[in-house]
Every structure is written in C-alpha cells, then in structure tokens.
C-alpha cells in the first residue's frame, strides 16, 4: 500500500518535467497534475482505511499503518485536495498580479507535491528517527514554498522559520540518542520504533526518560507552534501565499501534535508520566495565554488566524497533558474540526488578499458588498473558531472543558477567561472591519470558480459536522485511543 503512494509521487514528479510553452497552459497543467496527485493519495488512504486490517507493517518495520496514522493522513490529504483545487485560481491570480514568475511555477508545484508525499510518509513511519528526518524535510519544503513569492520579507520569514524550527529539532536528536541509549541498555540492541517503545514503556528508567522526553518535546513543540518556540508561525503564515499558509497551519502543525501524542502514548506507561503531564499542561496553558493575549491588537488578518492556530494547538496540548481516554477522543475530533475551520478561514483570507492586495484590516472596505462569499466564509469561520454552537469546535471544546473541570477547577476558570478574551478580540476586529465604508470605488475582483467551490464545500461541511457526528468517525476515534494504549 505504501508503494502505491511512492509510485504516484514519483510519476507525478517526472510528469512535471514536461514543458509547456505559454504560461497559462503550463499553470493549468501543473495544477491539474497536483489535483490528480492529491486525489490519488486521498483514494489510496480511503481504500487503506476500509480494506487493510490495521496495524500492518512495511519495509521491515520502518513503516507501519495504524488507525491513528490513517486518520491524520485522511485530514492531510483532504486539506491538500481542497487547497490544490483552490490554488488553480489563486496561482493564476498571483501570476496576473506579478507576485510569482512563470519560471518559479515549477518549483512551487514540485515542492507542493513533494511536501504532500513527505507528510504522508512521516505519518506512516514507525521509526522515531525516520520520523524526525521526514519532519526536517517538511520544514525545508515548506520554507521553499514560502520563498516562491518574490518579496524580500518572504525570504526573512522563510529564514526565521528555518532557523527556529531546525535549531529546536536538533535538540530532539539529543533526545533520540538518549532514548536509543536507554533501549540499548534495556534490551541489548537499541530500537526507536513506536510500537516496540510502547511495549517497553514501563521498563525505561523514569528520570532519564523524562529528560529524553523533554528534549524530543522541544523539537516537536517548535513544529507544533507551542509557545516558546512558536515565534516563526505568525510571520510565516502572514507572508506565505494563502494556499501555503493553509498547509502550514492545518497539516504541518498536526504533524507536530501527532509526534507529541505518540510520544505521550509511550510516556503514559512510564512511571514518570505524572511529571510529564504537568509539563505538557504548563506548556499548553502558556500557549493559550500568550496566543489569546497577542490577538487583540492584531492589524493583519492572516497573523490573527495564525495566532488562533497557536491557541488551538495549545488547547490540544493541554488536552493531551490531562490524558484521560475521553479527553483524547475529543482532542482527535478537535484536530479534525480545527483543520477544516482553519482551511476555510485561510481560503477566505486568500480571496480578500487578492481583492484588497493587503492583509491589513483597515484596507478592507465594504467587505460584504465586494466579496460576499469570502466575507461570509470569514465571518462563519471566525464564529466557528471561537466555538459557537452549530459548529464542530463547540462540541469538542465543551467536552474537553468538561474533562478539564474534572481535572481541576481553577485551570478551567483560566482557560474559560482566555477563551472569552479570544472571542472579544475576534469580535472587536470583525465588527471594525465589517463596518468600514469604502471611501473610493473598488473594482470587485471576480474570484475564480475554483476558489469559490472549496469555500462553499467547507462552509456546508462545517455546518454538517457541527450538528451531525457520524458513527463511523466515532468508532475510528475510539480504536485510535485504544490503540494508543489509553
């Protein structure tokens, strides 16, 4: 099954080399290639989900496919699929406005498809070190994607992203080495596979394991945007083209959280899990607090959405820290809900960026009249992200808060007040933007159909997910939580 993934990836890359003379056809050709690529991946994942008995192992236990990995790949592939649709219209608009040269198109689409392959394989890899390497590759590829827009500050943003992420990732190598030494000390030859580590979970020496956990956590926290290491995230999201910031916030952050959750699954068996859960809770609260406080004075739409991703990642980390089976069930549901709503938000931000050629709120005038669908997408997205009813985030937020209440009430009060601050920030900004009248006449930018269809699909999807919770998804989440050993 993994070979199928690999083959499609390589075939698409080779096909990409074929040249088309004039730019219009080449852009469409490259785009339709990436649509084929993403839909193929989606099809393979769905067939894998239905047919294969999980977990199954490949390439002498370096790669494996279990329900958790499939769930995350499902989210990643659907986000990639929608954004490849969206990028057809978006890239054409970028070319018209001269932000991207025809020559760089090839680099853009190559990095785009490579990123998908790398992300999918990182979910499937069983070995922790391999997972680390693929994570590094995602950083490199997304940095390339950020740089494609020929603007100076894009380079600065990409560099910030590269350095902050990879310096922290280096420290997780130290953690890996320590882990490897522990397993070698325990059972003769060291082994870094998730499942073997899970079996030996309780045998590892507790204090050293906490040390190794913290080092690995530093690296994954940088990838997941947890507070002290999150600093690259707002800049990268604001400067990257909207299609890429969708991938950054809905997929790459998930990979970081995936790593932390796998690690926590091992830590859960170890006698030192109590200190580890406290550390995770502290980091989670810190993240939610910093993100909540830095949203209010935001002037840039994409930075606002980036900070809300940081806040949600902090909230998920908090959920993982508490670690009861029920809260993990809802943390997984929350990752799905957050990914969808974030995609909707960035898609509408993309259209608004193309309309006003800037992300700043004060430039967005007469927003409803000029771009009705995008403004409605933004409005519903913001309401969904702050967790109002009829949207999926409300259910998962309420349930996680229920478990937090069972854990400790003062923590609950802090989190509730922070969410109140977030809701206040969103409303202040939204009302100011929606009430701004246009002083001069704007020519309304006719968003391409390929940009509008994913937006509409997402709005309907969010409403459906908010109200109806399919049993298929329930069983999948249940046996994920079971397979992680909670």
């Amino acid at each position: 099954m993994l070979l199928a993934y690999l083959l499609t990836g390589i075939v698409v890359l080779i096909l990409m080399l074929i040249r088309f003379p004039e730019s219009e056809k080449r852009a469409n050709y490259l785009n339709s290639l990436s649509i084929v690529h993403t839909s193929a991946y989606l099809a393979i994942t769905i067939t894998a989900l239905i047919t294969i008995s999980l977990p199954s192992y490949f390439a002498n236990r370096y790669f494996f496919m279990d329900s958790f990995a499939l769930y995350e790949t499902l989210i990643a592939c659907s986000v990639f699929f929608l954004s490849s649709f969206y990028s057809r219209g978006y890239v054409r608009r970028l070319m018209q406005s001269g932000e991207i040269e025809v020559r760089e198109l090839r680099v853009f689409y190559a990095a785009y498809n490579l990123l998908l392959t790398v992300v999918v394989f990182s979910f499937y890899c069983n070995n922790l070190a391999l997972f680390w390497i693929l994570l590094e590759l995602t950083t490199v590829l997304s940095a390339i994607l950020i740089v494609t827009l020929n603007a100076k500050e894009n380079i600065v943003a990409a560099l910030k992203y590269l350095f902050t992420a990879s310096t922290a990732m280096l420290f997780s190598v130290i953690g890996l080495i320590l882990l490897f030494a522990m397993t070698k000390n325990n059972t003769g030859d060291g082994n870094l596979n998730w499942d073997i580590l899970q079996q030996q979970g309780n045998a590892l020496p507790p204090t050293l394991f906490t040390f190794a956990f913290i080092f690995i956590f530093i690296g994954f926290a940088a990838k997941a945007g947890i507070v002290p290491f999150h600093t690259w995230l707002p800049q990268a999201h604001a400067k990257a083209p909207s299609v890429i910031s969708v991938l950054l916030s809905s997929v790459l952050l998930n990979v970081g959280i995936y790593g932390i959750l796998r690690l926590y699954a091992i830590a859960h068996l170890n006698p030192s899990w109590h200190t580890i859960s406290i550390i995770l809770i502290v980091f989670g609260c810190l993240t939610v607090a910093v993100a909540a406080f830095s949203m209010l004075p935001r002037g840039n739409l994409k930075k606002l959405i980036a900070f809300s991703s940081i806040e949600h990642m902090g909230f998920i980390l908090l959920g993982i820290g508490i670690g009861t089976p029920l809260i993990l069930f809802w943390v997984l549901f929350h990752t799905l809900a957050h990914a969808l709503v974030k995609t909707l938000l960035f898609f509408s931000a993309g259209i608004l960026h193309e309309q006003y050629h800037s992300n700043m709120f004060e430039d967005m005038r007469d927003i409803i009249k000029l771009q009705p669908l995008a403004s409605w997408g933004l409005l519903l997205g913001c309401l969904a992200i702050t967790g109002l009813p009829l949207f999926p985030v409300f259910i998962s937020k309420l349930n996680i808060l229920m478990q937090i209440a069972a854990y400790s009430l003062p923590l609950l009060c802090v989190i509730l007040l922070l969410f109140l601050l977030v809701a206040g920030a969103f409303t202040t900004i939204l009302i100011r933007t929606f009430m701004q009248k246009a002083d001069h006449e704007y020519e309304s930018y006719p968003a391409a159909m390929s940009m509008k269809v994913p937006l509409a699909v997402l709005i309907i999807g969010i409403f459906v997910m908010g109200v109806f919770f399919p049993t298929g998804l329930q069983n999948l989440l249940n046996n994920i939580v079971f397979s992680l050993g909670f």
Partner: protein, 649 residues
C-alpha cells in the same frame, strides 16, 4: 404523545422559515416576507395553546431530538415552569411578528430585511428550545445560539456607527455570561456526573457557594442586573424596535427562567443566597429607575426600566428563598408566584411600550424625546397604547403591573412573622426602597408620556407626524388587552389555578370604579353647565404660546436629579459671557448638567484598558527579528535543562 409531535413539528417550522428567507435573499419581495411573518405568527399562537395546555393541566412533554456523542444529547422536557415561560415567549413573539409585518418594511435593503426576518425566526426558536432544554448541554447550545442570533439582529442596522460599538459590547457580555454558565455547569457535572437538571444534594460548603455564584453571575449578566447591566441600554437603542421588544420582553426572561430552574429544581438554596438575590434585586431596581430618570432616549429609558423590573423579579425570588428557609410556605409561594406573574406582566407591558415607542421613533425618525410632543392628537392609537403600557408599568390599580407588585408588597408587609430581628429590619428597608422605586417609576413614566404625547409638538417631524398603519396597532393592542384582562381577573385566575392568596379581588374594584364613573358622569350631565369652549392656555397674558414655553424632559426630572445628586454625581457647569468686562451686561451662556457614568468609568473601562495594555505588551514581543526569536528558544531550553536537572531527582 400527539402534543409533543405537534409542538416540535411547529418548532421545526422556524428554521425552515429562516432557511427560505435566507435562500430567497435578493429576490424576496414584500409579500413574501409578510407571508413568512404571518406564518411565524400562527406558529407562535399554536405553541401558545400547547404551552397553556401543559401549564394548566400539568402534563409533561418529553422529546429526544438526537444523541450527538457520548453523554451529549439534545433532549427536551417541558414541565409547568417551562410551559409557563414558553407561553410568555409565544404570546409576545406572536404580537411582535404581527407588528414587524409592516415595521421591517421601513429599514434597509431587501437582502438585509430578509436576513433580519430569518434571524428573528431563529432567535425565537432558540428561545423556545432554551426554555425546553432538559440537560445543560442543550441549554448551553441554544443559549449560545440565542445570543448569536440576537447579536446579528442588534447589528442589523449598520448605517449608524454606534451600532457597532453596542453590538460589540453586547457580544462580549453574552460571551462572558456563557463563560460563567459553562463554569457552573461543568462544576456541577464533576459532582453529579450527568448533565441533567436533577436535584443535586451532595454539594456543600464553599463548592456549592462557588457553583451558585458563577451561575447567578452568568444569568444576571444576561438578565441585566446592576453591576452587569451596561450592555442593555446600548443594545436596545441600537437594535430595531421589534427586536428590542423581543429582547427585553422575552430574552431577559429566559435568563430569569434559568435562575428559577436552578433555584427550584437543582439546588437546595441556603439563606444567604436569598439575601444576596434580594440585595441585588433591590440595588438594580433602585439604580435602574434612577438612571431611567436621567435618560432622554426613549429606548434607553425603557431599557433601564427593564433593569428595574428585573430587580423586582429578583426581589420576589430572594423573598421566596428567605421565606422557604424560615418555612413559611404560604408566603414563599406568594412571593414566588408574584415574581413569576411579574415576569409575565413585564414581558407584556415592556414589549407593548417598546412596540408603541418603535412606531413613534419610526414616524419621528429620532429617539430623543426632547424633539417629540403633542403626538396624542396626531397618533391617537399609539398614544393610547403607550398610555396603557405606562399605566401598567407604573403599577396603577386595575392593571396587571399593580397585581404583581401588590403580591411582592404583600410578601414584604407580612415579613414581620419572621422572628430574626435583623432579617425583619432588612426586609423593612427593602420595603421602603421598593416603594421608592415604584414611585420613581410612576414619576418617570409621567415624564415619558407627558413629554412625548401631550402638549405642543417640539419639532416639525412631530408636527407633521401621522399614525402608523393598522397592523402596527393590532400587535400592541393584543398586548394591551392582555394587560387589562390579566389585571382585572387576576384573583379569579389564581383561584382557578389553585393558589388561595390574600389578594384583593380587582374585578370587584374595577366594577365599582366603573359604576362610580357612570354615576358621576350622569350627575355632571344633569347638574352642570352643558357647553364648553376652547381658548389660549393661561400664560400670564402672553398671547402666542409656543412649544419652547413647555416643560422639557430634563426640566421635569431636574428636581429628582438634584435630590439624588450623590447617586448621579451630577455636575452642573454654567458658563456665561458678558458684553462688558465688569460682567454686568449678560450676553449669552451655556448651562449643562453632566451625570457621571459610574459603572462605565469605574468598572468596565479600567478592565478593558488593563487587558489592552497586557495584550499590546505581549504582541509587541512577536514583531521582532530572527535573533530575538532564537534568544527566546535559547533561554527556554536553558531553563528546561535547569528544571529537569534540579527538580527531577
């Protein structure tokens, strides 16, 4: 079971109507929207009948909508209390629907009108379902939906700039109320293990006090109790009148329903709860009416009066708990039923006042009562309706406002049965403050009615005003009729319901009033001089009497403002300028009265500024270059190594 199907079939019509309204957004013509409002009107009437049936014959309705996940399921259970409140919502929203058939025609483009219609439908449905909710998840779900839809409604008139500010204020306050409610519900969940509204006795001590306080704060933010009332005047003056009628007439009652539901069925309340609720009720009643006196914007005036009446309802609830703890069950029932009856009455006459003032504002164009006057001759029907509303809110005998205030007065008067002397003194102080509030309310509505409707018009708009179309009269007149009937037949209704209270039989009083009026009229007809003529008002000889000689609203309330100066902290600034420099020949001058906005300046703005300061500081930390980012992660890693090294032995 037929009733449950019927009820939820009718409730499902609301979202359908909303959906249709949104789908035909641009193309929707006038008749299309009006047919939707008539549909909503009939559905509300149907729900009214069902709820009356459940309220009187005490049949409980149960309905499981669907199970979302795990312990979360949307399910409903309607008992007498829920049916009573659904009856209030149904009656008021049916009258508002009739009223808004014509009222929404005056505002905004076709699309925004459709949008407001859809949002009103969803708003009414969410209020029904909040009241019918069986577990706290459903309650929270529809509570949030209610605040969301009302937020859009407050925001519907986007032309004015201050709508944005008040909508923002409103949204943040509702979110704060949901946060407190969530805190209370989750704390309850940790103890009782289930989200159902079931009797929880295992609470005790500080935890129980904490849960009660968070729920009380949550509900009182939404109900507009004094320290949290600040959003109410803004939201009501910004939203269109039919929406503010719905909001202040009914939405505030949903918060009261929540509070009663918890006090009656979930908690076993302690004595100090009763005292806190009573004190909060007294404070918000008194301050509500005092602030209403200084208001010259008709909608803000009515909004402050909602705060006053919510205060009275809270007084009733507080008394109920106090009497319950001293186990005087008759007095406890009297004050509880008094509070609930006052909720019903307030819903009726407040929406009547809002609808009629809405017609006035619609015709005149401005909300400032200083520019109205003499409207009773130009808008007789709206005038009469506003008179009915102000008479029943000022609690004058044959009307329903009087009956519920009488019941609470009765409870206060009979409080001498309690043996604890301090409680008696507190209740007597409460009695005098309550009397002061109702007297000030009477003064305020004399001012409001007198300045708006009587004497000479003060602006051209008032001069050329004409009465509104008949539909905008029918709606409020249904409410006025209900006010009178509930007033006069209150004694009979209570007997029929089975509560024997020592209440005066207002039917007898009404009949004797009528009889004596006829007698006196006949006497005057026979004896007195028949003819009458009209001439100039007496102005000590001035021939041309114009409107500037009339008493204005600020003039009318100036004595009260000076008497209650410490409450308002009124500052009178008078600056005169003279022709000569000895200050003897007076040229002109400006005299101003400023009342100090205590709550806004002292509580709300400092908190907002503090949060703003922190968030500025934190967010500036993010707009820096790469080196500082690496410095952040470097310090974090060093700290982490230190901690793991030292702490984890």
């Amino acid at each position: 079971m037929f009733l449950t199907q019927l009820l939820f079939l009718s409730l499902s019509i609301f979202p359908l109507a909303a959906l249709i309204a949104i789908l035909f957004a641009a193309k929707g013509s006038r008749t299309f929207r009006q047919s939707i409002y008539w549909l909503l009107f009939s559905v509300n009437l149907l729900v009214l009948l069902i709820s009356i049936n459940t309220a009187f014959f005490n049949i409980d309705l149960d309905f499981q909508l669907y199970r979302l996940a795990g312990s979360l399921q949307i399910s409903f259970h309607i008992d007498r209390l829920a049916a009573f409140f659904m009856g209030i919502i149904a009656f008021v929203s049916s009258t508002v629907c009739v009223y808004s058939v014509r009222y929404t025609e005056h505002h905004g483009s076709a699309r925004s009108k459709n949008f407001t219609t859809a949002m009103t439908a969803l708003f009414i449905m969410s209020m029904y379902l909040v009241v019918a909710a069986d577990n706290s998840f459903t309650f929270l779900f529809f509570w949030e939906l209610m605040s969301l839809t009302s937020f859009f409604l407050v925001l519907s008139d986007r032309s004015k700039t201050e709508t944005g500010k008040s909508a923002l204020f409103y949204f943040i306050m509702t979110q704060m109320s949901t946060t407190f409610l969530m805190l209370g519900f989750l704390a309850l969940y940790t103890v009782s293990g289930s989200m159902q509204f079931i009797q929880v006795d295992s609470l005790s001590g500080l935890f129980k006090a904490g849960v009660f306080l968070s729920l009380f704060v949550g509900f009182s933010i939404k109900a507009g109790v004094i320290p949290f009332h600040k959003w109410l005047p803004y939201a009501h003056s910004a939203s269109p009148s039919n929406i503010s009628a719905l909001m202040s007439g009914v939405m505030i009652k949903v918060a009261i329903y929540g509070l009663t539901r918890f006090l009656l069925f979930v908690f076993s309340p302690d004595l100090w709860w009763g005292v806190t609720i009573l004190v909060f009720g007294l404070v918000s009643a008194l301050l509500g009416v005092i602030y209403a006196l200084k208001e010259h914007d008709i909608k803000k005036l009515l909004a402050y009066h909602s705060i006053e009446n919510i205060g009275i309802i809270l007084m009733g609830l507080g008394l109920y708990i106090i009497f319950l703890k001293y186990d005087f069950s008759t007095l406890a029932n009297l004050s509880l039923i008094g509070a609930l009856f006052h909720t019903l009455n307030h819903a009726l006459f407040k929406s009547l006042l809002f609808l009629s003032s809405g017609s006035v504002v619609d015709v005149i164009g401005t909300r400032n009562i200083e520019e109205m006057g003499g409207l009773i001759k130009r808008m007789p029907y709206t005038g009469i309706l506003f008179l009915f509303g102000s008479v029943s809110i000022a609690a004058l005998p044959p009307f329903n406002g009087f009956v519920s205030e009488l019941m609470i007065f009765q409870a206060f008067l009979h409080s001498f049965v309690i043996d604890n002397p301090f409680m008696k003194v507190l209740l007597f102080i409460g009695l005098s403050l309550f009397a002061l509030t109702s007297a000030l309310a009477a003064a305020c509505f004399v001012k409001a009615f007198g300045v708006i409707f009587l004497a000479m018009p003060r602006s051209n708009a008032a001069r050329e005003s004409h009465d509104v179309s008949w539909i905008m009269i029918v709606g409020p007149s249904m409410l006025a009729a209900a006010c009178i009937l509930l007033g006069i037949f209150s004694y009979q209704i209570f007997n029929w319901l089975g509560f024997a209270f020592p209440l005066p039989d207002l039917m007898v009083i009404g009949l004797s009033l009528l009889f004596i009026v006829v007698l006196v009229w006949l006497f005057v007809k026979l004896v007195a001089n028949k003819h009458s003529r009209t001439s100039e008002t007496w102005g000590c000889g001035i021939i041309s009497q114009n409107s500037s000689m009339e008493y204005t609203a600020s003039g009318f309330s100036e004595p009260i403002l000076t008497i209650f100066r410490p409450v308002y902290r009124t500052r009178k600034t008078v600056n005169r300028n003279f022709h000569d420099n000895f200050g003897s020949i007076f040229k002109d001058g400006i005299a101003e009265i400023h009342t100090f906005k205590l709550f806004e300046e002292r509580i709300y703005l400092p908190v907002a500024r503090f949060v703003q300061k922190i968030s500025d500081y934190v967010s500036n930390k993010h707009d820096v270059d790469l080196d500082t980012y690496i410095l952040y992660s470097f310090t974090a890693i060093v700290v982490l190594i230190l901690i793991t090294g030292w702490l984890i032995k």
